[in-house]
């Protein structure tokens, strides 16, 4: 049962003023979201960070040029956030690292979204034995420690990815420089383990709309299963899907940084927030800023994503549940 408190409802005069225009679920949700200060804060910070990370490196100093004479210097007017042990500008490295971390978070979540929604929808729609088997597989995968799975996948696909890398580097506009293959690998590996919860959520939602009249009507009109699932069912359960996707992105970014901590992240001279934090943690006794700045930016991003996700959940009135 969804919990409604007076706070969640549009106030009486507001509702009266809007009645003539009529308002959909989405405009309602947008309205509620805009009144949720933490969510708005999260959204604004995310947009600002994304702009900074994707446009910033065009104007900032180089992330890879070393200055060994300078070494690790504390923040100064020239290098706002200081430099790392090789004299590279930390601000530029954080911006560049943000590109990769945000991109990994976004793309891997989309991979997880596509796999999870398709899998869950098929299981829920077909039902019966197929559903039982498909969900049992998900249960089994839940019991596997995902880190080992990802590590094995990363090791397993290392050689093929180097070939992809060589091929990609011919096309400068596609590539982020050396190591694009490894980033693609990160997308795939993380996406491949993060779809499980999405599949469960979507299956549950599909089960609940399956018996509704409009689905019966669609079936009576002779539509096939593909059309019914993707044109009729999914649009009706977009709320939970959107909410869960926004909450998957921080989980994915955490996983990426954890893999970087294991040394499976992108290779130098590239950086991601995970690799910056790892390097910073190793040198923190002498040069604490190397840990503090990347750590804060990373946490701020997760903060914003979670606030936005929570806000969306309240705005779309999705029940908070794990299954």
């Amino acid at each position: 049962m969804p919990t409604l408190s007076p706070k969640d409802l549009p106030s009486a005069d507001l509702a009266a003023g809007q009645l003539e225009q009529g308002h959909s679920l989405w405009s309602d949700a947008w309205h509620r979201l805009r009144k949720n200060k933490p969510a708005v804060f999260g959204g604004v910070v995310l947009i600002a960070l994304a702009l900074l990370c994707f446009l910033g490196p065009l104007f900032s100093q180089s992330y890879e040029i070393q200055n060994l004479d300078l070494g690790a210097a504390p923040p100064s007017a020239q290098h706002w956030l200081g430099t790392d042990t090789l004299g590279r500008d930390l601000f530029a490295r954080i911006l560049f690292g943000g590109r990769i971390s945000l991109l990994v978070g976004l793309v891997a979540s989309v991979v997880a979204l596509i796999i999870g929604v398709t899998y869950g929808a098929v299981a829920g729609y077909l039902g019966g034995k197929v559903d039982t088997v498909m969900m049992r597989i998900v249960d089994i995968m839940y019991a596997l420690p995902f880190t080992i799975f990802v590590i094995l996948l990363m090791v397993f696909l290392k050689d093929p990815m180097q070939k992809v890398d060589a091929w990609l580097s011919q096309y400068r506009w596609l590539s982020f420089g050396q190591g694009m293959g490894k980033i693609l690998l990160l997308f795939a590996a993380i996406g491949a383990v993060e779809w499980l919860t999405m599949a469960r959520i979507v299956r549950g939602q599909i089960l609940s709309v399956k018996k509704m009249e409009f689905i019966e009507a669609a079936r009576a009109l002779g539509y096939g299963p593909g059309r019914i699932i993707f044109r009729h069912m999914i649009p009706n359960i977009l709320g939970p899907i959107i909410v869960y996707t926004t909450l998957t992105i921080p989980a994915v970014m955490l996983l990426e940084s954890f893999l970087s901590f294991l040394g499976l992240g992108v290779d130098a001279p590239m950086s991601s927030w995970g690799t910056l934090i790892k390097d910073g943690a190793e040198k923190m006794e002498e040069f604490p800023w190397l840990l503090v700045f990347p750590g804060s930016i990373f946490s701020l991003t997760l903060f914003s994503l979670n606030f936005l996700g929570d806000g969306l959940r309240d705005a779309l009135d999705v029940r908070a549940s794990k299954d």
Partner: protein, 305 residues
């Protein structure tokens, strides 16, 4: 109830079997073996090594040998630690991880439940905002940032604790706080959410109408139902916490199982990987069973389903 438990235990056998099979074959399809990384291994030595560990036999035979010894509770010899069995390694490292895990769990439960209950009881007050905000910080600052920061402040700057090591009782404080704090944040959020949901229900209003005190309402009436989401989270959560955390054990130099988990995958130590995965999976399955039983106990509605 007993029949329910018995059925669930029987159901886990095929699941465990599938997990063993999948892990066994998955690692062996990864290119390179446990001995490929070692330098200066002549082909003869390699052949001898492989013969010693039975790796020269066909895959299906290795598989059935492994299953056979597994039925006797034998997880086989480690490939990377000479003359040691996986059973010995687990018996040596697991207690350390369990000790740290128990302490962290204690921190997590005490901090998380208290913060969650208070935040829900005083919804939208400064207490709520403070507790919820702190919980959000706990979730968003990963352990590999929090751990080094705690070391930097408490060990290096103030010198209250050793920066790493696992000898004196004081060495337990920072790792338990780092690991437990992370889970405390989750528990606080789930407790708050669960309590708020319950506090809106009719039977709470009835209890209020009958004049029950606020304390009695929270602890006697609401807590049981409000804890359901926490219990569901604790199932896999406890398995994670007890089998050790690679990050925490690396930062604080703790000789636990969490590090073996990850290094065995890098080393292609086939038997050690499979052994730790089986341990973890069995623990998750067992704890999920406990969770189901506890949920039925907490929520009488489920008893009739």
């Amino acid at each position: 109830m007993l029949r329910f438990i018995a059925r669930r235990i029987l159901e886990t056998i095929p699941v465990l079997f599938v997990i063993v099979t999948v892990t066994f074959f998955m690692i062996r399809f990864v290119p390179g073996g446990p001995f490929t990384a070692e330098k200066a291994v002549t082909p003869e030595i390699l052949r001898n090594l492989e013969a010693h560990y039975g790796l020269d036999q066909p895959l299906w035979k290795q598989y059935f040998n492994y299953l056979g010894s597994l039925l006797h509770g034998d997880l086989g010899p480690s490939f990377k630690y000479p003359n040691r069995t996986v059973n010995e390694i687990i018996a040596e490292k697991l207690p350390v991880s369990i000790e740290l895990g128990t302490e962290a769990l204690l921190v997590a439960l005490v901090l998380g439940l208290t913060a969650g209950v208070f935040a829900a009881a005083r919804r939208n007050s400064w207490l709520d905002y403070g507790a919820s905000g702190l919980a959000m910080v706990g979730i968003c600052v990963p352990t590999f940032v929090m751990g080094p920061l705690l070391v930097l402040v408490c060990a290096i700057h103030f010198g209250w604790f050793n920066a790493s090591g696992w000898y004196t009782p004081a060495d337990r404080v920072l790792p338990a706080l780092t690991l437990g704090g992370y889970y405390a944040a989750y528990i606080a959020r789930l407790t708050r959410g669960g309590m708020l949901e319950v506090l809106n229900q009719d039977y709470i209003r009835t209890a209020r109408a009958k004049g029950a005190s606020e304390l009695r309402i929270i602890f006697r009436h609401a807590l049981r139902g409000g804890l359901l989401p926490v219990v569901a989270f604790l199932g896999p959560g406890i398995a994670d916490i007890l089998t050790g955390s690679f990050v925490i054990e690396t930062i604080f130099q703790i000789p636990g199982l969490g590090r073996e988990f990850v290094t065995s995958a890098f080393n292609r130590d086939y038997t050690l990987i499979t052994g730790t995965v089986i341990l973890y999976a069995a623990l998750i399955i067992a704890l999920n069973l406990v969770v189901d039983v506890v949920q039925v106990w907490l929520n009488p509605k489920l008893r009739f389903e």
